[in-house]
Amino acid sequence: MSTDSNKGIKFTEQLQSTAINIDPDLKKRANDFLKDAELPTTRNEAWKYTRLAKLNKVAFVQNEDTSLSRSFEIDREACRITFVNGNLATNLSDLKLPEGVNIVRLRGNQHEQFKLKTNPEELFGAINLSYLSDGIYIHVSKKVKVDQPIEIIHVLKGSDVISNFKTIIKAEEFSQVNIIQGFFAEDGASSCFMNNSLEIDVMDNAILSLDKIQDENKEAFHISNEMIDQQKDSTFTINTHTLNGGLVRNNLNIRVLGTNCSTNLFGTYLLNGRQHVDNHTVVDHKVPHCESNELYKGVMNDQSTGVFNGKVFVREDAQKINAFQSNANILLSDTASINSKPELEIYADDVKCSHGSTTGQLDEEAIYYLQTRGISKTSARNLLIRAFVEEVLENIANENVRQFTESRLNDRFNWAL
């Protein structure tokens, strides 16, 4: 065990362990792991470009006050449940669920048993299990096409508050559902931390789309660990749009376990100031006859930094796979930076795969052309940035979510729509 006091996990010292015990075996392993866990440094390959040292400067606390000065919503037509710092805000939550959808709160749950996918020997997964604030299990029944989207809103509020939250989703055979996750911060929230965990099972022939909007603030920490298993003939689509945040890390892990699946990953990150956003994605093709399609785009200004690390595995038995992956970035200033690493690891021989990464600046010729038509330099730049991210935004099938995203981008960057 290391005696180096800088490396130990200090930021959790004030936290109370959770009473929630959804997978006792796993929780015990997490607790054991945390006893002598250390903060990963940039020498650790998985954290090479994301410095976590800042976390240890904050002594996080839990806070059960759920009052908010305003409400948060993305799709006004959705069935909405709101959590503040990981605690259910009853007054901001709909009681009536759409037909075929059942939701169980993890706090106080006696009936449901879960076999979790979380790795208890990974720091943030372990912290999440050990200090779980609350969580929900969303179950969509067989053959139900849920017309109303389910929207789970998380709001950070106060100072130095941590939310450890877990969402478990199971979409049964032949079901179809759109789930929205919105992450926000109340005005004045300072140094808060959303340690988020998501586990999804997409069963045979089910279609699940997840729209994830990250719109916290420039001081917020956000770490997401997302584990998705897809069974045969299923479709999973995730749109991850990071509009605001201080230090953001998304670990998205998709295992394609059944044949004839379709997997779509779309994301944008639009950063200014000193924001840092790190997307680590894994698509693991274990079986044949599947396709995956990944497109992430980033726009970075000021001293912001982005990281994209996308891995696609095509295992030995996974023939006839079509896998596409692309990451494109625009740097708006000399001091912004991106580390982009798309990786394909292919062990099968009859596959169609491609990957690519580009980083550039706005096209000066195009800006000049637009200026000669009377458009100011700022508007010209905004038109080009918008055009650049539009290719990703147009994949949001839920019209209300797309409009929300576009109008927030408009508020934040004054982009002409």
Partner: protein, 250 residues
């Protein structure tokens, strides 16, 4: 309308315009011809406000104001328009979207109210019909995947939408077939009024059959070296530029 006096401009330390004089009055059409590399596009770029060029001497007065003192977008809002020799493609930015932004920024600059969506669309229909531009092209990304001729027509469509006081057409005729040429010329002639003026840069007298200039200028080595009536264009096409070089040598 515009008065250019003793204009000198360089790029990367190389002097391209070397004392150019030109005056154009409202209602006039001027043609500028000249060999490759003589500085025709450079003149157009300098007037439009491209930053790559350094103005070392001279002045340009546009409608009583100092043109060289204005930003590119300000010049456009004051009524200057350049139809590019090589229009750029801008993937993802729709023609219509950007034109609406351009029109409204111009109107705001001039203290006018923004145009309603309905009036704007009516204008798009009218002006695209004028240059026989397929309405589908009007809503596509700016010039992306357009043929050479479609790009040129799109330039004239934009000109029609922006209703400039002074339009500079830089080799808008190059690469056009005879039908497209007639359409483009028709657009220019329809938009012509006693209050606006046009500079037509071309290598071919053919265009000047359709857009009849009041004056033809020869630009050579960064200067206007000869000015004449429209017949000068015919003479240049027949005899080339050598006789002008000889005249100059004397």
């Amino acid at each position: 309308m515009i008065k250019i006096q003793n204009l000198h401009a360089s790029v990367e330390g190389k002097e391209i315009l070397r004392g150019l004089d030109l005056e154009i009055k409202a209602g006039e059409i001027h043609a500028i011809m000249g060999p490759n590399g003589s500085g025709k596009s450079t003149l157009a770029s300098v007037l439009a406000g491209r930053e790559d060029y350094e103005i070392t001497e001279g002045s340009v007065e546009f409608d009583g104001q100092d043109l060289l003192d204005m930003d590119t977008e300000e010049r456009a809002r004051e009524g200057l328009f350049l139809a590019f020799q090589y229009p750029v493609e801008i993937p993802g930015v729709s023609n219509i979207n950007f034109l609406r932004t351009a029109l409204n920024e111009k109107r705001e600059y001039l203290g006018q109210e923004a145009m309603s969506a309905k009036d704007f669309m009516a204008m798009v229909r009218e002006k695209s019909a004028l240059v026989e531009l397929d309405p589908k092209l009007a809503s596509r990304s700016v010039n992306e995947g357009f043929s050479g001729g479609e790009k040129k027509r799109n330039e004239i469509f934009q000109m029609a939408m922006l209703e400039p006081k002074l339009a500079i057409l830089d080799e808008t005729d190059s690469g056009l077939d005879i039908d497209a040429l007639r359409i483009v010329a028709n657009g220019v002639n329809t938009l012509k009024s006693k209050d606006n003026a046009t500079i037509v840069i071309t290598h071919y007298q053919r265009l000047l059959d359709y857009i009849v200039p009041d004056y033809v200028h020869v630009l050579f080595d960064g200067k206007i070296v000869k000015t004449g009536p429209k017949e000068l264009a015919l003479e240049l096409e027949e005899k080339g530029y050598d006789w002008i070089k000889e005249e100059l040598a004397q």
